[in-house]
């Protein structure tokens, strides 16, 4: 009795482990907040970069236009790298760039834009970082492609030439 039961239990246990592992393979383990894709964009009301007036997100994002919301800061070195692509993106004119200036001081940030050019249509400053948290950002830089009040793609880290081409393809 015992000698027959043991193999059975062994085989069954390992079968169960196999099934569990098999299932866990299918579910991706990279944790992405639910807010990332195909969800309505989170709203914010943040100070404008140029003057201290409050800008409400509902007023920025309109339905039938593409927006590229870019979280940046002057102290962020990869931001300098991606800046040329943002300028390139602006040239096309088919998309509005929203800059979210993350935990930065005004002087450094304006110098940054003076040196490298200002690709943004609107800049809001996120002094305490809460705006970025609302958007579920991982860090700086990070960008969101927005259409019809939905995030259709997010870019974690600096955008590359390939990303630029992809965006240009989408907004065509």
């Amino acid at each position: 009795m015992k000698s027959k039961l043991l193999p059975l239990i062994l085989v069954l246990t390992f079968l169960i482990i196999f099934v569990i592992f098999f299932k866990s393979l299918k579910s991706s383990n990279i944790y992405t907040p639910n807010t990332t894709l195909e969800k309505k964009i989170p709203s914010f009301d943040l100070k404008s970069f140029e003057n201290n007036s409050i800008i409400i997100s509902e007023k920025i994002f309109k339905d039938n236009e593409y927006y590229f919301m870019n979280i940046w800061a002057s102290w962020c070195i990869p931001c300098k790298e991606e800046h040329k692509f943002l300028m390139e993106l602006k040239k096309g004119g088919k998309i509005k760039l929203i800059g979210l200036n993350y935990k930065d001081n005004f002087k450094n940030a304006s110098n940054f834009l003076k040196d490298l050019g200002n690709p943004y249509n609107i800049i809001v400053s996120d002094n305490d970082g809460t705006g970025s948290i609302e958007w579920g950002a991982y860090g700086v830089p990070e960008s969101f492609l927005v259409y019809q009040n939905k995030i259709i793609k997010r870019f974690i880290g600096p955008i590359s030439n390939e990303d630029l081409l992809e965006i240009q393809k989408i907004i065509k």
Binding site: V11, I20, F21, L25, I77
Partner: protein, 625 residues
Amino acid sequence: MASLIGSYSLGFGLFFSVFIILFSVRNLRDTEILDKKIVSFTFIQFFFVVISFFGLIISFINSDFSNETVFNHSHTTKPLFYKISGTWGNHEGSLLLWLLVLTLFISIFLFKSNHQPKRYRIFTLLFQQIIIIGFFIFLIKNSSPFNYIFPTPNEGLGLNPILQDPALAIHPPVLYLGYVGSSIIFSSALAAMVTSYVTKEWAKHIKQWVLASWVFLTLGILLGSIWAYYELGWGGFWFWDPVENVSLMPWFALTTLLHCILVLEKKKILTSWAMILSIATFALSMSGTFLVRSGILNSVHTFANDPERGLFILIFLFTLIFLSIFIFIFFHSDKEKIENNFFWLSKETSILVNNWFMMYFLSVILIGTIYPIFLEVITANKISVGPPFYNKLILPFLIPFLLAMAIGPNLNWIKSELKDKFYMIIFLIISFLLSAFIIKQFNINFLINTILVSSAFFLFFSTLREFFAKRFKNLSQNIAHFGFSLLILSILFNNIFSNEVITNLKIGETFKTEKFTINFENIDQEDEKNFKAIKGKFKIQYLDGSSDILNPELRIYNQPNIITSEADIKTNLLTDKFMTMNYVQNQEYFNVRYQVKPFMIWIWISVILISFGGFLSFFKKRYEI
């Protein structure tokens, strides 16, 4: 060109598996002598894998970006050393390394097992070939290191900077020597069961392999830990990260197996233990590979998140597990009942006690690592299991384990008496007083810490005494056990007496505590080949007038664009002073972490001692006493 040759050699290598299997099966039936051709074929197969591996290395050295693996993981500005180590710093290359070691070891095995029965050798070879074929197919089908890209890119994507570290460059090969060594033990255990050769002779023969794999596995884990301490910049050496656990589990199984084999060498007992542990060690190594490579666990070791690869390893792993269960059930006979009655106070009993403790630690880690995966599949809940779980479940059981470890080796085989053991009680009292005295100086939980430290001291004194009592007759075991006691002591002291300061500093600013002041003097910029270094200069002034200068570093790598922070560590025999700095919000400020970590270097030294013990035993032809 090198890629092309490498790619073809892989195919040829797989082709030779067919020959090896054909000839082996034929050889099983006739004569008593092992067919020389089989040995030659095995060598040829190894040779092809070597060529393939060199093909990949040469592609990396030449920065041949028409090779996809090279393109993804290398860059022309990388120093030559990291170009070469980049070969195994990625999924495809590291699997090729697995295969290289697999074929190398089976060749060595055939070469070194001349005096073993022919059937046993052939069966070991056959089982090993199953594993080798599995890896060949996996490499060629799912993760070929020689994929061609056209048009050839001008520049590669670069190796992750945190992987550009000397300790990490040799960490994978050493760890693999341990992992793959366990594959030989696995095949040989299966072969021994099939040919009913689970005997003292087998134990004596396989002991060499167990020891070798164990030493490599220990050193491999040590190197990974050293890398984490020096490179990751959070000042710890073990994080109970799932991937670390995955390497620790085979270590526990292998350590237990080592003790079983030492018994089996003398008496034909604990055979079931030995068989199950041989299987478990390899299964755990393989499931480690599975968990890491399939992307189920996310960590620095996750090279690629590809479910298809995971699926292959999973099916392969479970095929091997079911095969071994089948063989264990149908071939393993448990004819040791008569000898199985141990006297309660004997070395055999103490080794059994050791086994059960080891199994307990192993299962704690196993549950902590795998349970979150189970829970997620069944209930879709995400939980994370961290250091508190392991500390709470392992620390209390460490106390009886340490005591048993101190007493066990002093017992005799078969039967032991209690007299002549009074020195033990004296040691126990000394250890307790000593640790109570030390712990009282600090404002921490008295009871548990005192008991823990005193049991560690107890082991320390007992092993120290053994050096003299046994007059170096049993040096290898003594050194390993002494190293272990030292390890536990250093870890405990390191945990209890660590000190940390985290603060934000501008250049020129000073931070004061009761015991020292930190002065941020200046920063320097240096351009290196593939990164820009920002070096901070900090002066730590202590109350007694002495001072240290520490230069933590920020590295801005150009390819890929990543910032890493390099800790500066001042090491001496008693403490490590560890400092890192990081960017914060504003360019003027740096986040500075300063840690004083006592006995850090002793953790490394003691692990080296432990493996040195195993190393010595490797060359010893006599029995353990």
